[in-house]
């Protein structure tokens, strides 16, 4: 280990081994189940898009009929492609026609057997394969555009947010933010989208404190930022959220529309949105397999732990979650460069030595995950409305970022908790980042904490506590699921047999088939 904290390699190894021990049974469970969202994502990869007159997506309509006829447990591929091969959608046999006819009640699905089943499997694999090919092409296109326009000129990448609710307002704001220096634009989603069991359709102009994630909104924003990339001579990345009840579908849409980063956490939906744990883990695994293939960098949500719990007392829950997120991500095929593990500057500034503590925590993350592009989140909890004090706090946040080599820096706004950022707030925030990076961007070359000093000891303590927490999770009969159920993680008790979206989960039958999973797991 070449880190600055001289962490004991055996301890680090032990932490990873424990994370594996905790995570493995979850993966086994995830493999044994499917969800409506995974099946709908499969239909989306096969090219089914659009919605009926009421705005219900065709993937939902088709899924519902198939489920009523043959159940969820065998997957959607066998009955759907069997119906297509039987000519239920006419001679062209396209999915949209099938979905329309199915929702009008004029198609009955069945489970094909023998040669019919073989043919249905082959046909579904071929058509879903086209969606995967689109993602492959988009990934190659990204690499080409980065080569042509150039990459972000330095690390950390500067990450700015737009959140107007109207995609046509978001676009000029995003382009302006890019001109001002953003390397990554995140479009915040409408409040509550994570709890919708469908992905809205089309370009949207009204959202609550954010803009709906839709395929068309993705396309519009990506095209606008491609223009900006050309104008500015550097590739501008686009971020959205693969979380909530439609994680797999949004991941598929993001892959096909060349988004570059996606928020995707292993436990956020369970703990903070009361989404059923099994649903979350199944959806998460599939969505991460899709992200892996699409070359998307995931951003995990550890900052959220610190917005609900004390950032000193709960520091080890961040480390624990990072270790788990790493395990789940790698199991799903993501590589180190795709792991934007999250953490945040949220210690109460009144706590003595708060800056040294922040530095210790951030350095621990850097040393534990030397090859991951860490995502460093600014203070929110202790931003009081005193914008002058907030500006100072953001400066110290930036300094920790510079000292610990963070790769993705979400720019803090002094008007956090006051207004959605004004033009001038963003400008001042970027001046703050530039000043710190110019003045101290290379300070990490000179800075090495005293081997047994405050920072090194604190980091070791947090790692130790996170190992204790992992051990406690392992001791539960049912491991992580029981630990989540009894509130070991955060304050929330989330039993595996409750929560939103549970009705959309089924145990796979012996004849279950999903061409997307098959294709994504090959290589």
């Amino acid at each position: 280990m070449t880190g600055k904290l001289d962490l004991d390699p055996a301890t680090v190894k032990q932490a990873r081994a424990l994370a594996r021990k905790v995570g493995r049974p979850i993966v086994t469970t995830a493999k044994k189940h499917t969800t409506v969202a995974v099946e709908r994502a499969t239909l989306r990869l096969a090219g089914l898009e659009g919605a009926d007159a009421e705005g219900t997506p065709w993937v939902n309509r088709l899924m519902d009929v198939v489920r009523a006829d043959t159940g969820l447990e065998h997957g959607v591929a066998l009955p759907v492609w069997d119906a297509l091969l039987r000519g239920e959608a006419g001679s062209q046999g396209d999915l949209t026609t099938l979905a329309q006819k199915a929702s009008a009640g004029s198609v009955t699905f069945r489970l094909p057997e023998g040669r019919d089943a073989t043919r249905a499997r082959a046909a579904s694999r071929k058509q879903v394969g086209r969606g995967i090919t689109i993602m492959d092409k988009r990934r190659a296109e990204r690499e080409r555009l980065i080569k042509r326009h150039g990459n972000a000129p330095r690390k950390p990448w500067i990450y700015l947010i737009v959140a107007t609710g109207d995609i046509y307002e978001d676009i000029p704001q995003a382009q302006q933010a890019a001109r001002e220096g953003a390397d990554v634009i995140a479009v915040i989603r409408s409040t509550g989208q994570s709890l919708l069991d469908y992905v809205p359709e089309g370009a949207t102009r009204e959202g609550f404190a954010g803009t709906y994630a839709t395929q068309e909104n993705f396309r519009l924003m990506r095209a606008a930022l491609d223009e900006s990339s050309k104008e500015l001579g550097r590739y501008i990345r686009l971020t959205n959220y693969a979380s909530g009840l439609c994680m797999p579908e949004i991941a598929a849409l993001a892959g096909m529309q060349r988004l570059d980063m996606m928020l995707n956490d292993s436990m956020y939906g369970i703990l903070f949105r009361d989404i059923n744990p099994i649903r979350t883990f199944v959806d998460q695994r599939f969505s991460r397999q899709v992200h892996a293939r699409a070359g998307i960098i995931i951003n995990t949500g550890e900052d959220n732990y610190l917005t609900t719990a004390d950032a000193v007392e709960a520091a080890h829950t961040v480390t624990t979650s990072q270790l788990l997120n790493e395990f789940f991500a790698k199991e799903a095929g993501l590589e180190d460069w795709q792991l934007g593990l999250g953490h945040a500057f949220e210690i109460d500034p009144e706590v003595p030595d708060s800056f040294r503590l922040e530095l210790a925590h951030a350095m621990l993350a850097r040393d534990l995950f030397p090859n991951a592009p860490l995502k460093w989140m600014p203070p929110t909890r202790h931003m009081t409305g005193d914008v002058f004090r907030g500006y100072l706090l953001d400066g110290f946040f930036n300094l920790v970022g510079a000292l610990t080599g963070q790769s993705i820096l979400l720019v803090g706004m002094m008007t956090e908790a006051v207004v959605t950022p004004w033009l001038s707030d963003r400008d001042l925030a970027l001046q703050n980042v530039r000043y710190v990076m110019n003045a101290a961007g290379s300070l990490h070359e000179d800075f090495r904490p005293t081997p047994d000093g405050f920072i090194a000891q604190r980091a070791r303590q947090v790692l130790g506590e996170s190992i204790e927490l992992l051990e406690k999770i392992v001791e539960h009969d049912n491991g992580l699921l029981d630990a989540i159920a009894d509130g070991t993680f955060g304050l929330m008790k989330r039993p595996a047999d409750a929560g939103r979206g549970l009705e959309g989960v089924a145990k796979k039958s012996s004849i279950y088939y999903n061409p997307a999973t098959e294709l994504l797991e090959e290589k």
Binding site: T191, F272, W422
Partner: protein, 262 residues
């Protein structure tokens, strides 16, 4: 006016304080949608003058891209402030932190307080109820799920009134929270009346849980008319709802002796 103290004793007229009593100095920052130039700085001074700053000193002007300029202005205002004429609408319950709310419930109920929440009618928008109940919360405040002493049962959207009453009874709800976000032709008012009537019918008189409705289209003064205990409107935060519930159901005895006349 008392030039010597500069403090705001009742009845005294005061001015903003820079570094000398009565100097009237204030600071201001803003952006104008114009290219940075001498003219732009003059425009900034003009705005400050119109706002009552005289003299106005444009101490900082910075271009932000080709079309905008940011200004910081210091200056003197000659407005007078009379604190005795300030009118404020006081909240009729104290705002508690989650810690204080938990402590009050523990002390006064000696058990957890149960809150059942739902969107009723055809409204599928759980934005409001989730903002108040989900731990994620709203406006930087954590939702009611975050409160250790609150047991939250969130039934989600499109819950029928009979279903809501039944769950409230089964859970022995102390408070029921109903959200109505997107409604047509005053459906939110009809739904709320139907809901409050159903609770009055199925509970012995005086034993109904605390009924709270909320949503952007409600008027906060309509509680009596709708048969509920409280109406919350747009922008209500979880902390306000929690504080109200605690105030109603887990009142803490004020520290004796009560020194403040009210």
């Amino acid at each position: 006016m008392d030039e010597a103290t500069g403090t705001s004793e009742a009845g005294h007229i005061i001015r903003p304080y820079g570094d000398t009593t009565g100097d009237g100095m204030v600071q201001l920052s803003f952006t104008l949608p114009m290219t940075h130039s001498k003219v732009a700085e003059g425009a900034a001074a003009q705005l400050a003058n119109k706002m009552g700053m005289d003299p106005a000193l444009v101490v900082h002007a910075k271009p932000m891209g080709p079309d905008f300029t940011f200004f910081v202005v210091y200056g003197r205002v000659n407005h007078l402030v009379d604190p005795s004429k300030v009118v404020v609408v006081e909240r009729d319950y104290p705002l508690l932190t989650p810690k204080e709310a938990n402590a009050a419930i523990k002390r006064s109920l000696r058990r957890r307080l149960t809150v059942v929440g739902a969107c009723i009618g055809s409204d599928a928008h759980t934005v409001g109820i989730d903002a108040i109940l989900n731990i994620k919360g709203f406006a930087g405040e954590k939702g009611l799920e975050y409160y250790r002493e609150l047991k939250v049962v969130n039934l989600g959207a499109q819950v029928s009134v009979p279903e809501l009453v039944e769950r409230a009874r089964a859970e022995k709800a102390d408070a029921v929270l109903v959200s109505q976000v997107v409604t047509q032709r005053d459906a939110h008012l009809l739904n709320t009346r139907e809901m409050s009537a159903a609770f009055r019918e199925s509970y012995p008189s005086g034993r109904t849980p605390l009924l709270i409705v909320g949503g952007p289209r409600f008027d906060e003064s309509m509680a009596g008319e709708l048969g509920v205990d409280r109406v919350f409107s747009r922008g209500t935060t979880p902390g306000e709802v929690a504080s109200y519930i605690v105030h109603q159901l887990a009142p803490t005895t004020p520290p004796a002796p009560d020194t403040k006349a009210s």
